[in-house]
């Protein structure tokens, strides 16, 4: 069983109902085939980078689904091609990293945060984790820890400044 992802652009000139019904028709089509729809996303009205069919914007949709037989992809693409409401489409099969990425994205792990931010968060967590033990520890140890935390912070800021350069 493979996981696929189909992204398509719907003509924005159509009425809202028609635009929504396009998504529903393909969702139903997939369901009738007996495949599991993992997620369907409306990415909204976006500006196109270049005009397609004399339109400068389009409504983006993305459906993620699991499918047993790859033959159905041909049928799906044929119907997308025949559909006048759809301006452009792209079907992609996802590997394990793609599946994981999409899951993380849905859970809000990926977005404005990039991976280097995550590392910083980890460091912050470590620093905060060391805080509660301070009360038990001697004053000297506390001082050492504070110095160490400051150094890590300084290192992080150095990294940042390097990146900015």
């Amino acid at each position: 069983m493979r996981q696929y992802e189909v992204t398509f652009i719907v003509d924005p000139v159509l009425s809202d109902e028609e635009i929504k019904s396009t998504l529903e028709t393909y969702q139903e089509m997939l369901k009738n085939e007996g495949c599991e729809i993992v997620h369907s996303e409306e990415m909204g009205l976006r500006q196109l980078a270049y005009p397609i069919n004399r339109r400068n914007s389009g409504v983006y949709y993305c459906i993620e689904f699991k499918l047993d037989s790859p033959d159905f992809i041909d049928k799906l693409e044929l119907s997308l091609r025949r559909d006048e409401r759809v301006m452009r489409f792209l079907t992609v099969s996802l590997n394990k990293y793609g599946v994981k990425y999409n899951e993380d994205k849905r859970n809000g792990l990926i977005g404005k945060k990039r991976d280097d931010d995550k590392e910083e968060d980890k460091k912050d967590k470590d620093a905060s984790a060391s805080k509660p033990t301070k009360k038990v520890a001697d004053e000297k140890e506390v001082l050492k820890k504070v110095v160490a935390a400051k150094e890590t912070l300084a290192a992080v800021s150095d990294e940042k400044s390097q990146e900015e350069e």
Partner: protein
């Protein structure tokens, strides 16, 4: 932090030095490049919308190939232009 030795340099000693290039995908453990994220892909493209070479971005060959495919997919979906001027 003022006690640190680095204050003895009046000018930044790193200016004029070559910065080490590295593959950001390997360093940060990014395994998948999303073709639906044009803002991210914009980093690997020049002002005319052409792919930047590896010698400038420092990307490893494995991920350069993946960047190329996802940029091409983004172009197909009109998220990135095939050709323009003043993209950035």
């Amino acid at each position: 932090m003022a006690s640190r030795d680095d204050i003895k340099f009046l000018s930044n000693p790193k200016i004029g030095q070559k910065r080490d290039k590295y593959c950001r995908f390997k360093r940060f453990g990014i395994k998948y490049i999303d073709y639906k994220d044009p803002d991210f892909l914009l980093q690997f493209v020049n002002e005319q919308g052409k792919l930047l070479p590896r010698r400038i971005t420092g990307t490893s060959l494995k991920y350069q190939r993946k960047i190329a495919t996802s940029v091409k997919r983004a172009r197909h979906l009109a998220m990135l232009p095939y050709l323009t001027d003043q993209l950035k």
